[in-house]
Every structure is written in structure tokens, then in C-alpha cells.
């Protein structure tokens, strides 16, 4: 394994995706995508996998796929629950990722009570009905 090999990023899906066509792993990820659509922010869901650890034969034994990539901001986003144990584990992965891929910008978002705010602003009922490109035409 050379240094260059370590910087190879596995691309799962380079295309910008839409909420309706995606099987989100967690409901909070769908809510987050709805917020991004509301603000007209382009996003991709788990588009890249970053290898983090290799065995002696060069096989990948640990990898990390951030939940979202925001191309306009050049920023990866990883969502996490408020459980301290999980936050600690994800922080470790993020640190490792930034050691190997220092050019990658990533932000850990702690899942708050998104749904309450979204209902207050009328976003939870309608955001799933619109697509990202339609949302980008809105006045914000």
C-alpha cells in the first residue's frame, strides 16, 4: 500500500440524487435531505467511501462513507445521534479520515429534534413532495 493508494476514494454514486429515489438508512437523514432541498443546497447521499485501515495484504478492513456530500460547499456531512458513545466512535473515524485525507472537509452534525422545527415551519409535510431542482428555484 503506497501513500497514493491510500488516497483512492471509492465512488458509490457520483450523481446528485433525489429524496424520492433514495432508501435512507435513518429517518433523520431524510429530514436532513429535506432541509437541504428547502434551502436549495445541492447534495449527494453517501457518494464516496474512504478507506481508513488496511491489513498487511493491502485489503481494506475499515472504511467510512459520510452521509452527505454538498458539492457547492465542498463539504461532507455525517449525522450522529446524541449518544456520547456513538459520538466518540464517529469522532475517532473523522480524525482518522482527516489524517489520511487532509483535503477533505467534513462536519459532524448531532441530530437534534429536527422534526419539531420542520413542522413549525411547515417543511415536514411538503418537503418530500418537491425535488431539489424545484426547491432551488424558490425565494429564500
Amino acid at each position: 500500500m503506497t501513500d497514493n493508494d491510500a488516497r483512492v476514494i471509492i465512488t458509490n454514486n457520483p450523481n446528485v440524487q433525489q429524496i424520492t429515489s433514495i432508501d435512507f438508512a435513518h429517518s433523520s437523514e431524510k429530514l436532513f435531505a429535506q432541509i437541504l432541498d428547502y434551502y436549495g443546497i445541492q447534495w449527494e447521499y453517501e457518494p464516496h467511501t474512504f478507506p481508513l485501515e488496511w491489513d498487511d495484504d493491502g485489503n481494506i478492513i475499515e472504511a467510512f462513507s459520510p452521509d452527505f456530500y454538498l458539492p457547492q460547499q465542498d463539504l461532507y456531512v455525517e449525522l450522529t445521534t446524541m449518544r456520547p458513545q456513538l459520538i466518540t466512535r464517529k469522532n475517532r473515524k473523522l480524525r482518522r479520515l482527516q489524517e489520511i485525507y487532509p483535503q477533505v472537509n467534513i462536519k459532524l452534525f448531532k441530530r437534534g429534534d429536527l422534526r419539531t422545527l420542520m413542522v413549525k415551519y411547515g417543511l415536514d409535510q411538503e418537503a418530500g413532495l418537491i425535488t431539489g431542482s424545484e426547491a432551488q428555484k424558490r425565494e429564500i
Binding site: I35, Y38, Y39, G40, I41, L70, Q72, Q73, D74, L75, N105, K107, F109, K110, G112, L114, L117, M118, V119, K120, Y121, G122, L123, Q125, E126, L129, R138, E139, I140
Partner: protein, 187 residues
């Protein structure tokens, strides 16, 4: 070389006015890319999200250092856009950053809150109550942004050359008035 800054309230049709001007003058409209470019240039991309997030849904609180770097980059970028000329700059405190530039026309687009709520409710297919909540949060966010980072009041009329109420004027008429004012500026 004409430069117009547009400050607008949510639901005031300010973006429609900007697009109308753009189609008349063939000027580009600069808004979101200013935020993104500044954040990337300053090396603080998460500040772009915090800035875009009028409703506070992301719960982001960038550090003062990150904010400072971002605002410096916004100022530099805006000066660059202004120097190039023939551009419409929407938001980002253009009326403050470029206030001492004699050739820059500063416009604010407003409308009554109740009308703005109706527009947002119709546009998004949501209740009036939810639309009103969006407007209150957005107004508060934009007011706080100007006060906190530029020490001015968003509703201070002295910041603007022209304030247009779209309650009875459509975006086309508003754009016509703005183009006339720009022409009178000698641009």
C-alpha cells in the same frame, strides 16, 4: 459599469425583482455563490451552511474565528464583483460593504408581513401559520446578521437609495424603477 445591491425580505419577491433586472440589463445575479465561494476561500465551508440557514434548522454555531475569516472573504469577494461591474448582488450586507462606492445603487425590496406570509404559504403549499413562522425567523435572522456583524439596523432607510414595496408593484415594475435609478446614476 452598473452595480446594484438588493436587500430583500422573505416573500417580498426580491429575487424575482433581481431576475427581472438581470434579464433587462443582462447582468449576472450573485447571491448563493458569494456565500459558498467566501466560505471555501476562507477554509470554513460549514459557515456557508450556517449563513444559508435562516431558520436555524442546522443548529450550527461557527467559532468567532471562522466567522471572522468568512466575513473577510465576503468583503474581498464583493469588492472584486463590484470592481468588475455590471452585476446584481443579492443579500450578504452589500448595502453596508459597498456603501461608500459612489456608483453602486442600493435597493431594498419589502412587502407587508401578512402578504409575504400569503405568498410563502401559496408557494410552498403550507399553512399561513407555518409561513408566518418562516417569515418571523427569517426577518429575525437577517436583522441579527446586520446588527451583529455590521453594527447597522437592517431597516435603517439611510442604507438604501431606493426602497420598493411590492404589495402593489409587480417585480417587472419594480425592476423598471431600479433600472431608471441606475441610469440616473450615470451607469
Amino acid at each position: 459599469m452598473g452595480v446594484i445591491t438588493i436587500s430583500r425580505q422573505l416573500g417580498s419577491q426580491g429575487n424575482d425583482v433581481a431576475q427581472e433586472i438581470a434579464s433587462r440589463l443582462n447582468y449576472p445575479v450573485v447571491c448563493r455563490e458569494l456565500i459558498n465561494q467566501a466560505a471555501i476561500r476562507a477554509g470554513v465551508p460549514e459557515v456557508a451552511l450556517a449563513t444559508i440557514d435562516d431558520l436555524g434548522l442546522f443548529g450550527l454555531h461557527p467559532s468567532p474565528e471562522a466567522r471572522k475569516a468568512y466575513h473577510h472573504a465576503v468583503q474581498v469577494l464583493m469588492e472584486e464583483f463590484s470592481a468588475d461591474g455590471d452585476v446584481i448582488i443579492v443579500g450578504r450586507a452589500g448595502q453596508v460593504i459597498l456603501r461608500n462606492h459612489p456608483g453602486v445603487l442600493h435597493v431594498k425590496v419589502i412587502a407587508p408581513a401578512s402578504l409575504r406570509a400569503c405568498r410563502i404559504a401559496n408557494q410552498q403549499g403550507i399553512s399561513l401559520e407555518a409561513a408566518g413562522a418562516q417569515i418571523n425567523a427569517s426577518d429575525r435572522s437577517r436583522h441579527d446578521y446586520l446588527r451583529r456583524f455590521y453594527h447597522v439596523r437592517w431597516d435603517d432607510p439611510e442604507l438604501y437609495d431606493l426602497i420598493i414595496n411590492t404589495a402593489r408593484l409587480n417585480p417587472g415594475t419594480a425592476a423598471c424603477l431600479i433600472c431608471q435609478a441606475l441610469e440616473d446614476f450615470g451607469c
